[in-house]
Amino acid sequence: MSNPTAGEIQRWSEELARDPASPAFLPLAKAYRRQGHWEAALRLCLRGLERHPSNVEAHALLARLYLESGELEKACDEWGIMLRLEGDNFEAHRGMGFFYLEHGDFEAARAHLDRSAAQRPDDPAVREALALLRERQSLAGGTRTGSAAALAPPPASGATPAPAAPGAVDPARVFEPLLAEAPFRGALIVDGRGLVLAGTLAVGGSDPGAPLGASAEAMGAILGGAIEEAQRTAENLALGAWRGMLMETQQATVHLAPLHEDMIVLLAARRDTPAGWVLRTAARAAALADGFLGGKT
């Protein structure tokens, strides 16, 4: 991309001022980044993604901005979202490869870098990373298997949760007993890496029992990272362990509660639902999630 002219930047700014939902936020944020206005680029990108949550290119830009500011974990969140939206995204696999390499998880790094190399074998950064990986593996005397589960290819856009094993509860039907409740908009089980393990979620005006879409997957991916922040906030205030979070948005009330290990259960209800109903139903959702996960809570 050539450097945008001042006229182009002004045109995008005006377009965005006229229509905050305009996709012009993306070229404008890119232009700001190139000019070194990192904060402005970040702000534009975050606001743009609120209206265009499935825009892979915007998530890629956000990942680059985080990476350039040294916030590798946040960059990793964005790559994770990109892979859920677009399972073969080169940039996301390359980023995840670097992330795992930095964290010494060579097996996960190998999987992501190999998928990048399969698409662009001549990419110098991928080749360099693979050489570095070989070097570090030989020094370590083999591969580590620290988070082999992280290697599982992410689901493609719009994917439903994994099919159930014979005799087991179908992950998409775990919260089916709650569907009869009028305020219910859906419930999800999300792990610490932001992967949706089970449940359904009505996005916009969709049916609460409909298969998951990319937006619900993206929500899970973003909230997966909230667990640690919730715990750290509670600890810094000497409030002990966190027990739940209640979010009230313009169109929904959402409750999150910790399950065992690093998992959470999310319950979404209509915005006008009394908090008491939400809390009681959240407890039912947690019990259903616990049953699905094998009663480990």
């Binding site: 993604l49 990272g225 509670a234 948005t249 169109q251």
Partner: protein, 115 residues
């Protein structure tokens, strides 16, 4: 503006069960004004609360649930209630047995006066 912030914070701090309150710049994660008990790491709380608010707001946007208005964190020994006010977030720390309904109302009112 600082008078408005101080008045909003002072009113919140007088509610039964409130241990402290602060107003935070949502993007920068820094406190703008605060009334927190001694010993509380104010910068850390401001940064974490703002980060948590931003993340959940982003998640709400991703699910097309609209803008985040309030966020309530429940913990063993208390609650944190946050209300969005444009570029600012009102953060209230409350006791476990506090009147949460009233605190949420006051936090929303404070946010409304700042937005």
């Amino acid at each position: 503006m600082s008078d408005v912030l101080s008045v909003a914070l002072s009113r919140l701090s007088r509610v039964d069960g409130v241990r402290g309150a602060l107003i935070v710049d949502a993007q920068a994660g820094v406190p703008v004004v605060s009334e927190l008990a001694d010993g509380v790491a104010e910068p850390a709380v401001a940064a974490l609360a703002a980060s948590l608010f931003r993340r959940t707001a982003k998640a709400a946007g991703a699910a097309a649930f609209g803008g985040l208005e309030t966020l309530q964190l429940e913990a063993e020994a208390g609650h944190v209630v946050m209300a969005g006010a444009g570029e600012l977030v009102v953060v209230v720390v409350a006791e476990a047995d506090a009147q949460l309904g009233l605190i949420r109302l006051e936090a929303q009112r404070a946010a409304g006066s700042l937005a």
